[in-house]
Symmetry: none
Subunit: 213 residues, 4 copies
DNA sequence: AATGAATGAGCCTTCATTCAT
DNA sequence: TATGAATGAAGGCTCATTCAT
């Protein structure tokens, strides 16, 4: 919600801020560094094995600074997840053709996801696996998995509407099924050292057959 | 101070206990109680939010007793997972017809899994989600997810062999995809309060279409 | 005080007891086994790293049996120390000539101690080092070191009386000095792998020169 | 909530503290307090009866602070031992005449050790007795006893070289013997309430006679 | 805005001892 | 006499978070 352009704003740091009327005027470099560091460590070690202090050290700032930018560790993780989601969204949007056959649509989608995975290794996995585990207490504001499932559900609805997919499915259920299939096949495939093209090919055929009219 | 009451026989184990309903240290009772308590708490709270002490208290035994039966918390969790796996296996084996159409085969499978899920609510989820997270160190002797994926792969291979499924898939990849689809659709369906029959129906159709020759 | 002939009574177990009017009548085999086991473990691991359970298991009896023979761990250790003291006494008494030159007297003494050390490796060290450490609370009934120091003091007094040693020393102080010299030189010599004859020779010359009239 | 009072300068460090006598977290103060507290408790209670928490409380800091300065309890004890060694070294170096007779040399040495013992009662004993007992595992980087024995060995070698001591001894063995004699006579003498001059006098005569050419 | 020393609740685990059998 | 399951106080240590500077 308030993460706009922080992640990649390594250019024009001060000028950009000068525009902002609520003159913070200070470079929020530390936030960017913390985000990067948090991502690195959450991916490498997982949520529970990563301490705020570790993140701060990795970011090269004092540990107190962490709490200037995040109310607590949980929020930092959630921000990481949110970033991942936003980024993946961009990837997918940028790489998906407007219209085409179901098969090539699905392949584009899978390839976009894989492109993201390859340029941000481990990120999706970390974001998805740990979330179930960051303690429940606070409301998790619709978990990532559910949201991605919803995205797939939306995708299904649209394509059914356009006649490219079989009718009769409950899009939510099938959306979640697709998400699960993609996630599990991918992460295990990665673990087992399978080639991307093989996984994408199998998965695409699997999904296309399941979904085509 | 010594041997107040008579009754030193080794037979009549339960009658003796009935007389003295509270306590009476009996041998392998505590393990069973601990197992039950562990399952309950791992399911309700997850791995990290469950302390060995909690399990012991829930089981009604001292917390030293926990370490009489498990070398550490991790082992206790692994035992819980193993139990779940074994139990689900029984469920599935008992409820799966020897031969029949792909559709009814898959429906049987899904129904068996659902039967298990309904009589052991939350167990599969707890076993699957937390395991990725209990930290490595010791080799996890092939994680549960992978193993269940392999089971599905095996299922695919067999059915392809018997001509009930389409050729050309890499069974490992597709096995994992099926596992993911089933798991994700089920657990989200459960979360969303969807009816079992609806989920099973959608999932079965989805899988059958993806897999049939 | 009540350890009389237990340690080595491996012969005539039952007959010997039959004499005892307070008819225990049971073979106290387990006590002997526990003593042996305790010695082994105290020597190998030290006081703090040895649990009563370990001793019991090593002895091949149940852990409860331990508390049939010793009120607590501390008492068991003290008994071990006492045994060592008694045994060393025998060794020394058996191997010390009635009268002779100071030099050969001291050599006999040292050789007796070394004989004991060699046939009971580590025992003296364990008995001496750990005692300062078994917790103070209860009165340690004159620590071993002090008592052995007193033995040496006695030895000095006797020899001074017979004109074989220099007058003018405070026998207590010198007794402790001798004890310390012998103990430290021996245990470090053993650690460093020095030959017995070299240590005995150096030590004997050192002590003789310090003590001769 | 932020910056109530003025005074953000970085000078005037101590005056500021004088105003607020209690607390005021200052940097390397806690280490000094912990060191002092550790020494006190290790001396009074020994290694095993002293918990890190006790040391922290004695130092007036939270027990987390303990682990800011020492990786674990063992390291804290080792640091205590090292301090003792360093301090005693200074004492001895400051109080030992460059050259003189063997007798006055040894007396100086003993007196230096006694001076130290009197101004730091119990420290040498605690450092020496407990060290054998803190369990191995990590290499104790030559135990204190051995090192002090080596120092004495060195002392012997030097004096033999300068003709002040008898030839023919193995300096290592005799070094350890001297260490043992001094340690044992001193600590027992202290326990028995003997006067320093008596112990020093007896010990000095004993050693001089043993060592003089 | 930034720092990092300080904190203490809380975690996992051990072990001397008891006691019903 | 012997057993060993059971106990819970206690121990060492971690880590998310605060706050004086």
């Amino acid at each position: 919600m308030e993460k706009t352009a922080a992640m990649s704003s390594r250019d024009a740091v001060k000028p950009a801020k000068a525009d902002n009327p609520r003159a913070t005027r200070r470079k929020p470099e530390s936030l960017a560094k913390l985000r990067l560091a948090a991502r690195k460590l959450f991916v490498e070690r997982g949520y529970h094995a990563t301490r705020p202090q570790d993140i701060a050290r990795e970011a090269g700032v004092g540990h107190g600074t962490f709490y200037l930018h995040f109310p607590d560790k949980r929020a930092c993780f959630l921000a990481f997840v949110e970033d991942a989601r936003t980024e993946l969204d961009s990837y997918v949007r940028e790489r998906t053709p407007a219209t085409s056959s179901l098969r090539s649509l699905i392949e584009s989608l899978l390839n976009a996801i894989y492109d993201y995975s390859e340029s941000h290794p481990g990120v999706l996995n970390a974001a998805m696996t740990d979330e179930a585990v960051i303690d429940a207490e606070g409301d998790p504001s619709t978990p990532l998995l559910q949201r991605w499932g919803n995205d797939w559900a939306e995708f299904v609805r649209e394509n059914v509407g356009e006649g490219r997919m079989a009718k009769g499915y409950n899009s939510h259920i099938v959306g979640q099924a697709i998400l699960g299939a993609v996630h599990q096949a991918s992460s295990e495939g990665w673990r087992a050292g399978r080639s991307r093209s093989e996984v994408v090919d199998n998965l695409a055929r699997f999904l296309v057959r399941a979904l085509e009219p």
